[in-house]
């Protein structure tokens, strides 16, 4: 405001009026700022509220059933209390393992390709289809896996379940890999080429290595996402009430076990379902935490 420039001597009436108006404006802005900040706090609280409620609820209902036996024992018959979900926990870990073995190499490879060949017709097509696949309802993936992997061999299997989950991971990993690789500045690529690195060596030992932290994070997030998937397993891994680690037989999985127990008529099994849910959330939490740690080390020292 130009009028505020001449402060020398006693303030004139006009200057006082201007000062007052400025004061009012500042007060109004401060008030509006506090209101908006307050609203944001509320929004942030609401955002984490569901998770908080879920965790509290799970601990209240399932906490007492999560003990050593839960991790080391199998299910008991209805009516007997105690027992555990050892087979389902191991089954879920095996399924995550198979899914990662399928999803990570394909996803990272495809992501690298998309980042290198940004605008070719194939790259554009693959990118679009990956996005479509990402939005595909998981039940559809399950039916498709059943048609392709279960029906021909006439039996459910851990392998079919793992592959179905792996197929779900592929688009997620592809897109994060592409994003992370594209974040690597072109100048780094040029610096490596100018040093006499071949194209593929530049991609692998400079570009991919620089993007690795972000890719690892993306991979872990994808693993956490598929760890709790139920629908794709209904027609593939099926579930198993006995101990089995065979890849060619139906295998137990936490989400399936939770589902079966929750719809059963027995109170003991309901308690077990809550405990299973708590453990599943725990697994997802640990994977997410690992992702966090991996991100933090991203720009750490070279060795």
């Amino acid at each position: 405001m130009a009028a505020t420039n001449g402060w020398a001597g006693a303030p004139s009436g006009r200057q006082r009026a201007v000062a007052e108006r400025t004061e009012r404006t500042i007060r109004r802005r401060r008030l509006r700022s506090s209101v908006m900040i307050g609203l944001m706090y509320v929004a942030a609280a609401v955002a984490i509220l569901p998770l908080l409620l879920i965790v509290i609820h799970l601990i209240r209902l399932g906490g007492s059933s999560v003990n050593l036996a839960f991790f080391t024992h199998m299910q008991r018959s209805p009516g007997e209390s105690g027992g555990g979900m050892a087979n389902a926990i191991v089954g879920t870990l095996i399924l995550i393992g198979i899914a990662s073995a399928v999803g990570l190499p394909v996803g990272i490879g495809a992501g690298l390709y998309l980042a290198e060949k940004r605008t070719t017709l194939l790259a554009t097509t693959v990118r679009f289809l990956a996005d479509v696949l990402n939005g595909l309802p998981s039940i559809v993936m399950g039916i498709f896996a059943w048609e392709l992997l279960v029906k021909p061999v006439r039996h459910f299997s851990a392998l079919a379940g793992g592959i179905a989950l792996g197929a779900m991971m592929i688009p997620m990993v592809t897109r994060t890999t592409e994003e992370m690789v594209r974040l690597v500045p072109i100048s780094l690529r040029e610096a490596a080429l100018a040093l006499g690195y071949s194209r593929w060596r530049t991609s692998l030992s400079i570009v991919l290595r620089t993007a690795l932290g972000g890719i690892v994070t993306g991979a872990l997030v994808a693993m956490a996402r598929i760890a709790g998937e139920t629908a794709p397993l209904l027609f593939t891994a099926l579930g198993n009430q006995f101990w089995s680690t065979s890849l060619r037989a139906p295998i137990a999985a936490l989400p399936l076990q939770i589902f079966n127990y929750a719809i059963s008529a027995y109170d003991e099994w309901h308690a077990q379902a809550w405990a299973g849910a708590l453990v599943l959330v725990g697994i997802v939490f640990v994977i997410s935490l690992a992702a966090r740690v991996a991100t933090r080390q991203r720009y750490g020292a070279g060795d």
Partner: protein, 274 residues
Amino acid sequence: MSRPDNATALATDGAPSATNTPASRIVVDQLDAYFAAVHAVRGVSIDLTDRSVTAIIGPSGCGKSTFLRCLNRMHETIPGARVTGQVRLDGQDIYGNGISPVAVRRQVGMVFQRPTPFPTMSIRENVAAGLVVTDRKPGRKQQEEIVERALKRAALWDEVGDRLKMSATGLSGGQQQRLCIARALATDPEVLLLDEPTASLDPISTQKVEELIYELRTDVTVVIVTHNMQQAARVSDQTAFLLGGELIEVAPTENMFTSPQDERTESYITGRFG
């Protein structure tokens, strides 16, 4: 910073039509470079004397960087880019049949406008980055010696010698740029290309890099692209003026800045345009 006295003694006859004297390290013959439809470098011919510093000056967009990137075949890494003409390194055309661009780049090092340390590598690994991809990868012990020598040549050893294992991204901009120079020197290139190496540096770092360039002429052939005419005058033996992709004039630096032959050169160096 004044130009050391013996500089003019090293200046050589750099007329555009100079013939291939034994002292020429690089002979550029009718070089044209294109970006898709854009004709960025037009029929440039120039001789780069062994162990001398050649400065390339000219207004923005005149093709300086593109010309430089043709000398180590980096230009062709850009989609749609194309080169015609010859660049003879020690008599051999680097664009000849069966010549691999990777092999050319190992002989002709390059440092860019902005420092480009590899963020995942330590200081030591950065300097050794070019060594590990050579055909005969030196042993660990030998690598350490080479790293130390390269850092000393780049006048960086005193500052980082005791923290070689630390991340290279923790260094200051000027240190990072000298690290990149050390990285380029570690493979013992015959030619070093510098693309505005001090454009993103403060005056003190700039001075260090300029002194370094001045030192390097004793065993490397240096080509430096610069926007800074004082810099060209300080560090180079020979200066070439590019305009609109054409080589307007090339002469020993002293002559170039005191008595330019072409009117356009004179306008440019006296600041009338560009």
